[in-house]
């Protein structure tokens, strides 16, 4: 069968069910696709056709993803396979265990295929902070794909992957999904086990799917979600059948539009795409009204205090002792620590370690860290008030602008941080959100809209997103490569 790489996971599962294709054919199709386009996109750090074919020949006899290849962001541990967070400091690291999400994928018959590029340790919004190379946007290779899960989004958009896993700490699934024109879901904090996800900010990180459409994202989340005794922050709430939410019925659903998200700095084409999307929802019987998330303006500040503080602690484990890179000929143990870390971390990782250590240091803790924790509470309460008032979801742009040019914000970290302005609050609150395509700019760049839900209301988000997607064809467009 031709062009299997362009199919969705659900379409492939149907073909596999009817024995119209074999898993090996799907692997070969996406492998040859990536051979022809990845030189332009550079979405994969590692790709091993033979290993994937080997796995495809040893699949369990049944499973919800049996025969579907899944690309994996490079910060999710796979037993015995290089996992580097796109960082030099994890050079050569082969985890001794599978992350829980990998375990779940394997037992449902998914074929792990390819390691997607990312900003080093998920620090970034452009994929330019990878220690390997930047990934480029399939819609315009002079632009960034977003980040930090830029590789995952780009390979799905470029049909080099059927579906992918990413991780989202401040927008790292949703922003690249928006900039590459795919669907990306950041689940409720605690919905998906973080066991085996190399930690960036432990109170914010979640793993989630990137997919070509809403149905695939719903299917994927159903597989990876669930309580895990190995992650004490995972929450023991039953996992519904997310695909069963895709019934198209959103009549009477209440959508909130936060006024604070439609302010200066919002690109006019993004603004008008969102306004048109609102009309589509109204046309399907949803009730739309303005809401307020009054502490939005503090979100970026709160985030860059808390996320860097947590990151500086989490990254303390990279010291050249147990795994990864160690500097040459250290004269003593302090020299080993300092040079290993100085040589092993890239610029953004160092910047965040310094900032995080600073805000936690004696004399600054109250002014920064404690203060940020208090404002975080207010940001969470903003969302709770909206959902307690009966809103089913909140609709916003995912990113204030479409994909920017490579290098455009690299020298100015603050401008890079501000590209996450619409996605960060969601992680601070812990609620779920997804991004889905809602239009294109005049120059052909994808625009994404974000739907935010209440705690553990991923099903509602999928229902809303699917209802919109069924009335539009943005998700069916493919970049010319």
């Amino acid at each position: 069968m031709e062009n299997l790489y362009s199919f969705t996971a659900c379409e492939l599962l149907d073909l596999l069910d009817r024995k119209s294709v074999r898993p090996e054919e799907i692997i070969d199709s996406i492998y040859s696709r990536s051979q022809s386009v990845d030189a332009k996109i550079k979405g994969y750090i590692r790709l091993d056709r033979d290993a994937a074919i080997g796995r495809a020949s040893r699949l369990p006899t049944s499973g919800r993803l049996r025969g579907v290849p899944v690309a994996i962001k490079d910060n999710i541990c796979i037993e015995g396979e290089l996992t580097t967070c796109a960082s030099r400091i994890l050079d050569g690291f082969k985890p001794p265990y599978d992350a829980t999400v990998i375990d779940k994928l394997k037992s449902e018959g998914a074929v792990i295929f390819g390691r997607a590029n990312m900003d080093e340790f998920a620090f970034g919004s452009s994929c330019e902070n990878s220690a390997y190379f930047p990934t480029l946007n399939p819609w315009d290779v002079s632009r960034i794909p977003g980040g930090s899960s830029g590789g995952s989004a780009a390979v799905v958009a470029a049909d080099e992957a059927i579906v992918a896993l990413g991780s989202d700490t401040g927008g790292s699934i949703r922003q690249p999904a928006a900039l590459c024109g795919v669907v990306g879901m950041k689940p409720t904090y605690g919905r998906v086990s973080r066991y085996g996800l190399i930690a960036f900010a432990s109170s914010l990180d979640q793993i989630g799917p990137l997919a070509k459409d809403v149905r695939d994202a719903a299917l994927m989340l159903g597989v990876i979600a669930g309580y895990d005794p190995k992650d004490s922050t995972s929450v023991n709430v039953p996992v519904p059948d997310y695909v069963s939410f895709l019934d198209g019925n959103i009549k009477g659903a209440k959508i909130g539009i936060p006024t604070e998200y439609f302010v200066g700095g919002l690109d006019s084409e993004v603004d008008s795409a969102i306004k048109q999307a609102i009309e589509v929802f109204k046309g399907k019987g949803a009730r739309v009204s303005e809401v307020s998330l009054p502490h939005t303006e503090y979100a970026v500040s709160v985030y860059y205090i808390l996320a860097t503080a947590e990151a500086s602690s989490n990254l303390a484990r990279f010291d050249g002792v147990q795994y990864g890179y160690r500097c040459k000929d250290p004269v003593n143990v302090l020299d080993m620590y300092e040079r290993t870390r100085g040589e092993g971390f890239g610029a953004e990782a160092k910047r965040r370690i310094i900032l995080g250590t600073y805000v936690l240091s004696s004399g600054y803790y109250d002014a920064y860290y404690l203060k940020a924790q208090k404002v975080r509470r207010l940001i969470k309460e903003d969302f709770e008030k909206v959902f307690n008032a009966g809103f089913d979801c909140i609709l916003t742009p995912t990113s204030p602008t479409p994909a920017f040019k490579l290098g455009e914000r690299a020298a100015d970290p603050l401008s890079m941080y501000l590209s996450d302005i619409f996605t960060i609050s969601v992680n601070l609150a812990g609620v779920p959100a997804l991004s889905l395509p809602c239009g294109f700019t005049g120059s052909g760049l994808p625009i994404g809209m974000q739907l935010i839900g209440g705690f553990f209301e991923e099903g509602k988000l999928f229902r809303m997103a699917h209802a919109y997607e069924s009335s539009t064809d943005w998700h069916k467009r493919s970049p010319r490569l």
């Binding site: 303006e297 795994y323 940020a372 924790q373 975080r376 970290p413």
Partner: protein, 98 residues
């Protein structure tokens, strides 16, 4: 609050992170800008004075489990990634001076 180069050097030492002089100068400049932005929080100190600090999205409770004996990784597995090892140990430079 502004951040000076000597503070960057001090913090880098706390973080066990060797920086070049160029990095120290660059980070001082950049972090000054970032902290200037972050200080928006402190301009409106009253905003959050009564809020309960939040460290986690869900109410924290200790997830107890049965204390069952389970297998663990062999020392061979654990040491497989070591930059340097000796026997059953990670090898590091001398820690206690003679």
């Amino acid at each position: 609050m502004s951040i000076k180069e000597d503070k960057i050097k001090y913090v880098a030492r706390l973080a066990r992170l060797k920086l070049t002089d160029e990095e120290v100068a660059l980070f001082a400049r950049q972090l000054d800008g970032i902290l200037g932005y972050v200080d928006k929080l402190n301009e409106r100190l009253d905003v959050a004075k009564d809020a309960v600090p939040m460290s986690h999205p869900h109410a924290a409770s200790n997830p107890f489990r049965e204390d069952e004996v389970r297998g663990s990784a062999s020392s061979e597995t654990v040491l497989a990634n070591a930059p340097q090892k000796k026997g059953d140990f990670f090898k590091v430079p001398r820690i206690i001076e003679e």
